[in-house]
């Protein structure tokens, strides 16, 4: 275990009493060792489906809760697969797949409470599911028939943020507001390994640290920033970066839904207690393409994907549920049927979406209107009217 996660467990001890110089030196040496070797990650369920304990993070879930997490992951994967197919059929403009990241998203999403606030990237379909955002709305956004998709305040789930990393600032600002309000909720800022190189993310880190803001920075390190692998992005493991900003960071097995849930719960509790921000690096893998416009075979090898397939988040929980008798075959076949029906519903929902009125794009630019927008609206209307087939298509 590294110094950082020890600090996470007992944050006040480090700033507390004076320590002997020798002890500090040992600690530093340990840290150096940890940096040299591949850093340890928090794991509660091995890829083989074996339950293991961790000294810092414990979890005890009922069979119902475990099956619930499994169901969430299966339905999220089904939803994602449907969206990819719909994009391939020309029904969606684009789709960023979360395939392989189900545990990181469901585990962290289920750790949030209703009054917490979530700031996602554009890939948090599993978190959106946990927050109760209507799946249809996510698809409407990528079909281009709605303006962003949903009311952020109805589920405390902010709009998908396409700009890379800017939500770290939004989340930090929101968290600073929570402190000023004296509320006891917390915030989760999602981002990826690629966004960790953005200034916005580091600015968010620093403000959160200085203002002791109740925000959990949840980084899904899916190993690829589009076509750039980790080794081209940073020299020090991501979670260790938090140390430099003055708050703890921890790496968790992002394909282990139990570990992700336990670590995120602990980090959120910590934030709610007023102990400030924390960085969680969920070590996971993007099994699919960056988006439907990307072709990963151009920059990574099949063997890498195969190695990660063995660590599949859904498979390991299924193995565990079966081995422990926590779910039977009937549960799995029922879920399969439910999943298929859900997929069908998703397809039908998208195919029956109505195109918005072409002129609607001018409606939400200014609350009180603008002469320039009026001019553009008239111009566009005239342009549309110049076509022989009448109204815009």
């Amino acid at each position: 275990m590294t110094v950082e996660s020890t600090a996470a467990r007992t944050p006040r001890r480090t700033s507390g009493g004076k320590r002997a110089g020798g002890k500090t030196a040992t600690k530093a040496a340990k840290t150096a060792q940890a940096q040299a070797a591949e850093p340890e990650l928090v794991q509660l369920l091995t890829p083989e489906g074996k339950r293991v304990e961790h000294p810092d993070y414990a979890i005890d879930l009922s069979a119902d809760e475990l099956r619930g997490l499994y169901k969430d992951m299966v339905l999220t994967r089904q939803f994602d697969a449907e969206a990819i197919a719909l994009q391939r059929q020309g029904e969606l403009g684009l789709w960023p797949s979360l395939l392989g990241q189900e545990a990181a998203q469901i585990g962290s999403g289920r750790a949030t409470k209703d009054d917490d606030y979530v700031f996602p990237t554009y890939r948090e379909h599993g978190v959106a599911w946990c927050r109760g955002v209507e799946p249809k709305n996510l698809l409407g956004m990528f079909r281009g028939v709605n303006n962003g998709g949903w009311d952020p305040n109805s589920n405390n789930f902010h709009l998908y943020t396409i700009v890379i990393g800017s939500q770290a600032l939004h989340a930090t600002g929101y968290a600073m507001g929570i402190t000023k309000d004296g509320a006891d909720s917390a915030v989760v800022a999602y981002f990826g390994d690629g966004a960790s190189s953005q200034g916005d993310v580091m600015e968010g880190f620093n403000f959160a640290a200085v203002y002791n803001a109740p925000v959990v920075f949840f980084c899904q390190n899916n190993q690829w920033a589009i076509s750039e692998g980790n080794e081209k992005q940073f020299r020090v493991p991501l979670f260790q970066r938090a140390q430099g900003f003055g708050f703890p960071g921890v790496r968790v097995d992002g394909n282990d839904v139990l570990a992700v849930l336990a670590v995120t719960r602990a980090a959120l509790e910590r934030a709610r207690r007023g102990e400030g921000p924390m960085l969680i690096e969920a070590f996971t893998y993007r099994m699919g393409a960056h988006t439907t416009s990307d072709d990963p075979t151009k920059y990574r090898r099949d063997e890498e994907r195969e190695a990660w397939e063995a660590k599949d988040p859904i498979l390991r929980l299924r193995t565990y549920l079966l081995a422990e008798g926590l779910a039977d075959e009937a549960f799995f076949s029922e879920l399969e049927a439910e999943s298929e029906a859900f997929g069908k519903k998703v397809r039908e929902a998208v195919r029956s979406m109505e195109d918005p009125d072409m002129m609607a794009i001018f409606e939400n630019v200014y609350a009180d209107g603008s002469a320039l927008v009026d001019e553009e609206r008239a111009q566009f209307a005239a342009y549309q009217a110049s076509f022989a087939d009448g109204e815009g298509k």
């Binding site: 391939r88 020309g90 403009g93 990307d294 072709d295 151009k298 111009q379 076509f387 087939d389």
Partner: protein
Amino acid sequence: MTTMTTDARFREFKMPDVGEGLTEAEILKWYVQPGDTVTDGQVVCEVETAKAAVELPIPYDGVVHELRFPEGTTVDVGQVIISVDVAPGSGPAQTPAAAAAPEASAAPASEAPAAEAAEAAEPEGRQPVLVGYGVSQSSTKRRARKEAPGVPAQESGAPAGTYYASPAAAAVQAELNGHGSAAAAPPAARPMAKPPVRKLAKDLGVDLATVTPSGPDGVITREDVHAAVAPAPEAAPVSRETTAAPQAPVQAAPVAAGARETRIPVKGVRKATAAAMVGSAFTAPHVTEFVTVDVTRTMKLVEELKSDKDMQGLRVNPLLLIAKALLVAIKRNPDVNAAWDEAAQEIVLKHYVNLGIAAATPRGLIVPNIKDAHDKTLPELASALGELVSTAREGKTTPAAMQSGTVTITNVGVFGVDTGTPILNPGESAILAVGAIKLQPWVHKGKVKPRQVMTLALSFDHRLVDGELGSKVLADIAAVLEQPKRLITWA
């Protein structure tokens, strides 16, 4: 095909845009054949776009009725690629067309529109691109325009690249069609100009609608606005025609099909060349002198050197000996190898010669130079010259190779002309123009004989090179080329 579209029993699947803004995709592989049963979401083919190879799932349950294109065909986004019989049990369908069985060359001509068939037959017509979304082969997707009074509806996609947004282009099109005028162009679009230019026009009280654009794609530039304020012919000679016809508010677009003029933005090498030539011509008072010389002996020496052991593998040509002659002349008249430093009010005498060679390259005119040419033996000079020329031809000349020249040779003779009045490379004091070597009647040893003759021209900067010095340099070069043994006696 038309009967298919009206029959609800057969559902058609169109090539989707699987990237963001793609216009076409190539069918790599069909996973199904006519008669195969498919279900919603089943992958039926693999296609490759400019971005990626992806698999396409069919959105219907049913039986494959026909495949419209064979593997290897590049298909426009929006074209039907496969149709599915969604009610296969409801009686005999029309004969399924095995149009796209791998061995079939193209969809049957009777069913496919001519354009599609033509495209299927010529898949290699696609232009390769390095970046971006690829080049569209046809514009079958363009929506038809309403018929405007006086202007017949254009054939869809007839002039590829026509901008609807540009009234100028539309006006040109109308003119070409022999109908109407600019007034018949589609809705009065805003004149195109960048915000600072709009601001300038506003400040100067210029209505942009009356300004003739000269920028790319009909964009109004800062210069256009200035020209509109003070239409002085000498200020804007390029727009003289437009000022002569002020009643036409919109003139021809910069680059339109069949245009009588083509406008090329001045940039890159052309811009650098222009700046250098203007700078040189208007700061250094040029004097050019000429001499015609019998180079028969030099040509003989060239031939002998070609078979010389020391020159093996090297490029030996008259230019090499002319370069050597220039170096000898500079050695005898070192003051010509100098520069005028206006800022310091000093003349800088150079004790080295960086010999520039003007080269016409695909990128334009460049003048790389051979560093310390005065120190080089003839084989070294030949080697350096050969390297300089081949590097320039490949377009790989580095900026460093073009800096710090002291004197230049420009070989206009390769184009077959006798001579010219070269303009100095900025920062240098002399430039030698080499004309074509031609067999001409020449008085040799008291008799008229056919001799190989050429004309040399030397331009020099009269601020620091007087007529006497310049003349001596040119005469020395001529003397060496007439009697190449002087390469030894004067060296």
